[in-house]
Symmetry: C2
Subunit: 257 residues, 2 copies
DNA sequence: CGATGGCGTGTACGTCGTATCGATCGAGAT
DNA sequence: ATCTCGATCGATACGACGTACACGCCATCG
């Protein structure tokens, strides 16, 4: 689907492909090189934060780095690896909750901070492909690792602990993604969160509602009071999930605070 | 972010923008026109199913329809509306569970069928933007509507019912997305699900594991027995969520089978 | 001091989305 | 029966993108 080739790299002529992260970990061979994977990733994240993912162009990025369009290709095999680098970089910002907080609070914080990370870097939602959405970057793995640490010693088998961690993280990313897309959709049509929002998702929604196919949904839009409170919605589902975990733990014959 | 303009369309020269879905609902003005939104969407879905989302090109699509590259633009304002059409079309395939099954079983089926839909049309994962990921297409709204119907009359307020429905749907899409991306990643490096899989996520994983930063994760990979059983993982998290809902319903003073 | 090899440059190709304008043809009015 | 008009589709073209490729530069090491 999306071909991955290896970037040229320092160190000689092996034949085995070396993963991006191994290449990244290699120290800069000289202090005077203009580019490093870090510099590239930092610049790219800055652009994406400021102008969205569409602004991320190999040419634009090169301009930002004061360098020729093709220069970055020595450190990155292509745009998808660049995106991987960006994803990993921002996940380094996430502060991992202490295990001592107990599994529930720690998992809760993990989810909430995941949400905040997405909101701080909305372009993350648009990166669905590759290793970006899985956990296969160092800093994302560290987050999963902490999730497992938090559940360690509670009597869960490996499969269950991992599935719980993934469920919570997936829920958090999914809900935060919804929130971001809604927000962008609103900005795109420049509504404030004022009257139009309160009257449903006008205007594209109004037609669909007028068809009468969605009476309950329509009633919800009119009835609900916390419509614009995305955090409330986020936390509600999160608590459902954590309640389920708590029940599972109790069933396993353990409890915890 | 992604500009939306209105496609030219039959019927004269109004000035108010008309939503895609309203335009779609308009009957074909003549029986002899070559193109309709439906024909376009069907062809596009066929291509995407067979060759992935990257194969979807306005030119390719036109060729598939036996028509000039720009022809589809009379029915669709741009590629993003085409994607909206595709998203909506495939969601029409999802069979809605009967309300009589009871909220838990119905919600469970909704989640499982959502998952199957994604697996049948893996390109859905790659469409993050626009109304695609929110529920703002007719067939997706119908799914949400059924979710609300299933929870109706159980004493939940509008906000809670909607949040629950969305939580379940978001969880389902997120987990199915993980599954698809993992599957694609595996195909990309042509492992079977054989030895490499069983030994972790080799080869790009092996380097990261060898750093020793992820002892628990590493142990999980070695210990777990249902690693490749994505459905099991899916259902585990789903049950957690539904357990949480059940607790909330019990707290609201209701029960149900 | 000469050679080596990594680093960044310059140029160019193929493909994409889509703006614009012109040709065509069926239906409704006369 | 003819005219006319607008809906429909075709042809051409433009700018931007990702990236392949081959070349100059320069620090380093023998």
């Amino acid at each position: 689907m999306s071909p991955r080739k290896e970037a040229a790299r320092p160190g000689g002529a092996e034949e085995r492909p070396v993963s991006l992260w191994e290449r990244v970990a290699r120290p800069a061979p000289a202090a005077r090189v203009a580019l490093t994977p870090e510099r590239i990733a930092v610049a790219a994240v800055a652009v994406a934060d400021a102008e969205g993912l569409d602004a991320i162009t190999m040419r634009r990025l090169a301009a930002e780095l004061g360098v020729a369009p093709m220069a970055a290709y020595r450190y990155v095999s292509g745009k998808s690896e660049l995106l991987d680098l960006m994803v990993d970089l921002v996940h380094g910002e996430l502060e991992l909750p202490e295990v001592e907080l107990g599994w529930r609070e720690a998992l809760r914080l993990l989810a909430l901070r995941n949400r905040e990370l997405l909101l701080d870097h909305p372009w993350l939602v648009r990166i669905a492909g590759g290793e970006g959405a899985l956990a296969l970057t160092p800093n994302r793995l560290a987050i999963t690792e902490r999730g497992l640490a938090v559940l360690d010693g509670l009597g869960l088998d490996a499969d269950t602990a991992l599935a719980i961690t993934r469920s919570v993280a997936t829920y958090a990313r999914g809900m935060a993604g919804n929130e971001i897309l809604l927000r962008e959709l609103m900005a795109e049509q420049n509504w404030g969160s004022g009257e139009e929002l309160r009257s449903g998702l006008a205007p594209q929604m109004t037609y669909l509602m007028s068809t009468g196919r969605y009476p309950l949904y329509n009633r919800s839009l009119l009835t609900q009071r916390r419509k614009d409170d995305a955090l409330w919605q986020f936390e509600l589902g999160l608590e459902l999930l954590l309640d389920g975990v708590a029940a599972r733990l109790a069933g396993a014959g353990f409890q915890d605070g």
